[in-house]
Amino acid sequence: MKSLRAPFVLIAAAAFSVAVGAQALATLQVQRDQISVTVQVNVTPAVGMRSPGSPPPIALAMAMRARGSAPDYVAQAQVQSAVRVQTVVSPNPNATLLYYNTPAVVINQTAGTSATYSCAYTITVDKTSAAWSLDDGLSNDFAAPSFPGSDLANNTYVQGATPQPTSTPFVVYPNNNNAWYKFASSIGKKTYCVDLVLTIPSSVAGGAYTTNAVYTLYF
């Protein structure tokens, strides 16, 4: 019995140090960069649904016009005004740590349908000297008015490799106790293809909705 005790203590100590070490490594990783890809969805209303602000049905429009005789209206063609937007760009040695191939994705889709958009964008991590981890998630539900961000799923895989067997709904940061989803840990340079799978509930009104797919790099 005594002869077994010493190896057991050694193994337990080793396991403990591995666990503590891994945890320490995880907690030592700090946020180094964060980027976002804007996802804009232009929703066409499902058949039988009417967009808010869209013209009333023809019979109603005729009744409204007949109620009063509008004066002849001479429209002024248009009025323009402009504002100058300016900035000074300075170098960022970390600009290529984490980047995308496109800052925004625009999807046109009908309410009540589901569709997949292959490699809608790519995300690249380029850090060769340290192990890193990458989190993702949505900044918000789609706005406005709103439909759930979890209706957007992603299938994220190393570019050139086979996609995952299934896609995973994005976590929505404020709905997930302000936490992201850790989807990758690696070392070196990796580019990920992100397939988007969007399911729009049939009750969603026509219009433009946006959110941000946010990527956070730690090492």
Partner: protein, 220 residues
Amino acid sequence: MRGWMGVCVLLIAAVLLPVSRADAGTGTTKVQWYVTGILRFTLTPNYFNGYGTVPATFGSQPPASPGPGACLQGCAVDFGTVLQNGQYLYKYAAHLHIVTNDVSGFKVYGEGSADFSDGGANAFPVTGSLYYLPSGPSSDSNTGYTPSFQFRKTSGTVNPAVPVFASAPAISYTSYPAAMFTSSSPTNDYYQDYQLKVPASAPVSASTYFVWVVYTVVPQ
């Protein structure tokens, strides 16, 4: 002879007069008028105290800090010095106040007149870099990650074609792009923040990059 002619004139007038009165009682008169269209549009940059740039972050927000080219209720929307691949919010960027007498309301279009240019050889695209999002007249809880919409580079004809830092261009359209806003009431106010996503590949330049964002208001 003169007296005879005068009697004749009087007789003719006496015969015609009652007829005229009867016509005045039953005839129709067409009255037609035109109303001159009124369309007033006031664009106010940096419309409220606290305007300026905030780096994109989650959680507590740093104070806004505009660039030197900005001033309260005027001047430019100046993000100041930004980093390549950085992402920023600009609070209280633009207030659009529109008044028209068109009962059908109006539409508002907003586009970049060109790409960002430093006036020399350096440039980066406005599409995908500059965004707008709704703000409030005197309060603003947006962050650099609040959902927003892209400003796109116009496909209209810009005059002058080469961007000039000190003077705003005009855009003429043969067809309008998608509307930024559609108002069904004749008067409306819109408050906007901007967001800037600086491309990682944006060339570093000692000169100031600029783009004119042109708003167009058209009665419906």
